[in-house]
Structures are given as C-alpha cells and as structure tokens.
Symmetry: C2
Subunit: 347 residues, 2 copies
DNA sequence: TCCTTCTATGTTACCGGTATCGTAGATTTC
DNA sequence: GAAATCTACGATACCGGTAACATAGAAGGA
C-alpha cells in the first residue's frame, strides 16, 4: 500500500501508541479511527491508516476488553469433538457468532461432569461473554458458579425444566418414544433399545425412558436396555457386535433400535454377513441421521436431529442477549423428525 | 466451604482488589497467593484463600496477560469442523495444550485462503501465544503477517519445504503414490483417481501428483483425475454417483482410488446395487482409514493417516517453543500406512 | 551488639487499550 | 459581532492484573 512501509520490517506487535506517534496524533485518535472513524477528520484518518499499515499494527482486543468489559469470546464445552454431531453444533455456533466478530473457545469434557466443572472454572478466567454447554447434567458447583457469574449460558441437545439460563434442543425422550412407536407400527414387537452409558448423560437416560414408555403404551413388554460401553469412540464395530450377540442370545428379538446411526450401520452390515434379513427378519433403526445411513442398503431408518440448527440457534440467542435484548422464552424445542427408510419397512 | 460465604450472593466478577480488601492485604499479596503461594506466610495465605472462596473470585487472565504478555491461548484454523479428521487433530491439540493450562480458539475457513487470512487477522487481535494452521497453502499476506508477528506457527496435514515456521504431517504425494502402486501390484491397470478440488488445497494437488507419478512409474497411462465438487460436505452419495458415472462412461476402468473413505464407502455400496463385483471387477480404495471402512463388506482398502497424532505433535512442539526451547527439526513427517483390505484383494 | 541477609508484604509503574471530559478553533445564529 | 453550537482532537483516569523495586521487622553472623 504505502511506500513508507519498509519491507520485511513490519513492526512486531506494534502498539497503538507507536502508531499514534508515527501519525503525529495521540492514542485516542488512533482508537477513534478504528472504532468511530466518522468522528475523525478524513485527512487525519488517512495519516493514521497509513501508519497502521506501515507498522503492520494489529489492535489488541484483550487490552480493549479490559476496559470495555467484553472479551469478545464465546466458550463452548462439548463431550468430544470426535462426534460429528457436536462438531456440527460447534460449526453452527461458530457461524452465528463469527458474524458478530466474536471468537470461539472450545474444550471437550470427555462426558465427565467434574472435568467439565474444572473446564468451566478455567474458561471463566478468560471472561467469555457467553457460554455454550452440552446437555443439562452439570455439577452443582458448575451451576452455582455460572449463575453467579451471570453471563448468558445456553445448554444444548435437550430440553428441560430447570435450565441454568437458556436451552436449545429437542426432547430425546419424545424422539426415542416416537421411533419406538414407529417400529411398533411397522410390525415389530420384540424391540431392543441399544444405548450408551446413561451416567452423566441425560440424553441417554431420556431415550431409554422414551423407549420404555412407548413399549408400555403399545402394550408390549419393554426388554432390558442393551448398554454398550464404548470407551474410546462410537464405532460401527460395536453395533456389529451387538447384532451377533443378540442373534445367538436373544433369537426372538425382531428389531434393534440403536442410539446412534454409527452403531446401526455397523449392525446393518453385520446382519448381512450373518444372513439376517433386514427389514423382514430384523428391523434396524438408528439415531442422528448421518449421511452413511442414506447410502447403505437397505437404507437406515433413523431420527433426524437438528445438530447444526441447535448451534446456530444457540449462537443467535446468545447474540440477542449480548445485544442487551431479553430472550423469551428461554427454552427452544427444535424438534426432531422420524425418517422411516428401508431398514424397518416390512412388506 | 467457609461459613462466611453468604449463599446466593457469590460475588459477580469480584476483583482482586475486593479480595485483598476482605483479606486485609493488598492486591499484590493476593496475586502472590495465586501464582507463588510459597512466598506468602501460611496464615496470610489462608485468610486470602478464604476471601477468594467467600467472594467466588475467579482471576481474570485477560488482565494478567496484558502484563505478562501471554494470553494463554492457542488458536487453530481448520477448513471445517465437520470433517472428523480435522476434529481429531483439534482434539489432539486440545489434549496437548490443556495440560499446560492453555485454551483453544477455533475457527473454520471453509477451505478458502482469503477467509483464512481475515480469520488470522481477527485471531491475532486476541494475541494467541501460538497458532495451528491446516495445510501449507496460505495467502502471502497471511504468511507475512504471521512471520512478522513472530509467534510459533505449526502448519499441519502436509510436509513441505517452505513452512512459515514448523510443520507436522505426512506426504500426501507419497501416500497417493503408495496407494496407486498398491493397486497396480494388486493387478489393476485402468485406475482412476477421484479427487476433490485442488484449488487452495495442496493436499488434493499433491495426491493427484502422487497418483500420476505412480502410474507413470508403472508404465501405465495416468487417466484424467475425476474431480468432484462437493460443495456442502463430503458425502458418501458423491462416491456413489462417481461409480454410476464411471460404470456407464468408462466401462474399462478397473479401479477407483478415492481421496476420502467417505466417497469410497458410498462407491462400495453403490457398486453392489449396480452389480459390480468388488474387488474382482472393480477395485476400490479410499483415504483416511475411517471406522466405517473396516465394517463394510468387502472391507475397504485405505491409507491410514495419523490425524490425532498430528494434533498432539503440533501441540507438543508449540509447548516446547512456548517454554523457550528451540524446536529442531522444524518439519515432522509422521508418515502414513497403506491398509490393504478386501476391496482391492483380487484373488 | 551491630551489620547483613532473609522474609513478608507494600508501593509504584505499567501492560494496551477506551470512556469521559475538556478545549481550541471554526461555524452558525440572531 | 457576541453568544451558542460544532468539530476534531487531546488529557486524564482507569480496566484488573503483574513486574520490579522498596521497606520493615526478624533472623543470622562476626
């Protein structure tokens, strides 16, 4: 741009004061050029702009935030980044807040509420303007700390009665109930729900409840929930293992409802190898509506959940609150959709 | 803890000065209790600790960072969070730096270098202590800005000659070459490489080069690279489409090497529907070694890449540099592994 | 006993910005 | 042409911490 810039010697961490000196003004004028340019004489503004370019000046928001009281950061805690759904939600949050110039701090709690608590503590030291959490299960300390701190907090992936502040999600109970009912409607009777561990995970717990409710309402006996402990990651092989186990140990089971498409797809593929006919002999349903479920054959019946929308909505209401506007209601149920495909289509 | 804490009125954003007043000391002593507790008399320390608990004081690292010159933040830019590989890498970075008490700021560039540049700019305003980038392709401005700023920078997912600072990855060229050679060894001759757009993505470009090199070295004619434009996301359906197109338009093709397992799995499943026998009639290979490729039948031949390790290594060398220790060499090739499975096993 | 050296804490200045108020000169008003 | 109002910028204080230095009293040494 400017011929005054000496190449290769862009100032390292030039400060506003240095820019000011170079432009022959005070810091205040430089600050104005950056935030309220209309209040500065065009000629002065240009001198300052040139000085900024020449020095490669990048303003320091940490310093600015000290005064203004806003760090310009939103923090998010997810159980894991490895699960595409949480990644989708984060991407949604990121999209929403990036437009407002906010940054996103991420950490993952490995599904442990005490880890989450210590992360909340360390995150609050960075004075985020708002916080996004996953789920409704948090330690009492976490809840107290956040309530006391008073920043906007959005809990996600569920709906519930006693949010810390705001909630965006859908009812996992209703979703599991709806899918179970769908399986019943399709003609399945001995339906097993395959769930992850429900400790520290009210999503898993609610889904199990939804399953039982639907079974009872249909006058069917709820079978014991098959809990898989998938230590490292959610893997299709786990679903395959479940099918094999059920095939030999519970041969009367006629449908498997998995808490994740990842499991369900593994089960679907393993079924073929075992000679189990899906959907005639065994119905298989998943949860989350991942891409892979559309491509496998038979295609996978599943629950579509609004992962990205949850993130976007969370970001949007945070921005509302940060703009000083109250958000009512504080609970947003974004719903779900039962997607009935071939894997449960008994002809 | 302390009976002095009035329930429900944990101090909102209590400051160090308030803690100091309550404990009857100055800010400096409170600061010492937090960072160099051994320098404070045990009795005083206890009074201060009680005051901290009673007020629910959470130190403000932004303020501290202003003085100490370190924000305690590491920034990472990935093309997208939606791709499990980048999520894995982030998780690796996060693991590595969390132990050192550093936070992670994330943003996604949507594979666009100019977006990346503006993100770098806005990220630098937050004065991260270090930066992790994906790939080696960046705008000149980005490179200049980062070099001038002087913070440790790690580029990931490739190896290359002219890093901004440090690189951790593997050679996509060598990986594609090795896989192509593997296909040749398995008996395939008319091998098509299916790639994403290579603009702004040297990983894609290098893979295409590796493919061509291997073909030429084997005395085979490299076929035109099939470029898929997958606007929204990397989806299996795209791979399915490719198989259908190739099946009708290039019936002599006997192997497809996809730049992602996601495509390859879609292709594998579509092949079955088309009655194409894999691996006899058509070999199919992928890239990345995703879980799903192990479960499908036939299982998928692929290139295993060290996604998490890249993140961890990146985090580790950043920490080294932040601890003031020089890092030599500055380029880390973490390698890859060809995983030959059923989908290319011609009997 | 007097001087030195710790130990424990306080004082001061400063990090890099911004809010607030002040003010000189130009412009408008009657 | 004097008063009122703008315009464009500067001076000051402060945000919430920490580094560096200062200091009072206790402990140690000759």
């Amino acid at each position: 741009m400017s011929e005054t810039s000496s190449p290769g010697k862009l100032g390292f961490g030039a400060t506003m004061a240095e820019v000011a000196r170079r432009a022959g003004v005070t810091k205040m004028t430089v600050s104005r050029v950056l935030r309220h340019p209309e209040k500065v004489n065009p000629q002065t503004r240009e001198r300052v702009t040139e000085a900024i370019a020449a020095l490669g000046y990048v303003p320091n928001r940490l310093a600015g935030g000290l005064t203004s009281g806003a760090s310009g950061l939103v923090a998010a805690i997810v159980p894991t980044l490895r699960h595409s759904l949480f990644a989708d939600t984060l991407e949604g949050v990121s999209d929403a807040i990036a437009e407002a110039g906010l940054g996103l701090i991420v950490s993952s709690s490995a599904y442990m509420t005490d880890v989450e608590e210590s992360q909340i503590r360390s995150i609050l030291e960075r004075r985020p303007d708002a916080l996004v959490l996953t789920g409704l299960t948090h330690t009492k300390n976490s809840r107290d700390l956040l309530r006391a701190f008073g920043i906007p907090v959005v809990e996600t992936w569920e709906t519930g009665d006693d949010p810390i502040d705001m909630v965006v999600g859908y009812s996992n109970r209703a979703a599991a109930e709806a899918m179970t009912s769908e399986l019943v409607r399709a003609g399945y009777r001995r339906i097993v729900f395959v769930n992850g561990p429900s400790k520290n995970n009210e999503r898993a717990r609610h889904r199990a409840e939804g399953y039982r409710q639907a079974m009872q309402r249909a006058g069917l006996e709820p079978l014991p929930v098959h809990v898989v402990h998938d230590e490292a990651a959610i893997r299709p092989e786990t679903g395959a293992r479940v099918v094999r186990a059920v095939h030999t140990e519970q041969p009367d089971v006629d449908a498997l409802f998995f808490t994740s498409d990842v499991f369900a797809v593994g089960a679907l593929l393993a079924s073929r190898e075992l000679g189990i006919e899906v959907p005639q002999q065994m119905g298989i349903a998943g949860f989350h509506d991942l891409e892979i479920g559309r491509v496998v054959s038979p295609s996978l019946t599943t629950v579509h959940v609004p992962a990205t929308e949850i993130g976007r909505k969370a970001g949007a209401i945070l921005l509302e609150r940060l703009a000083g506007r109250p958000v009512e209601p504080r609970r947003f149920d974004l719903g779900f959709t039962i997607v009935a495909r071939e894997s449960t289509h008994r002809r």
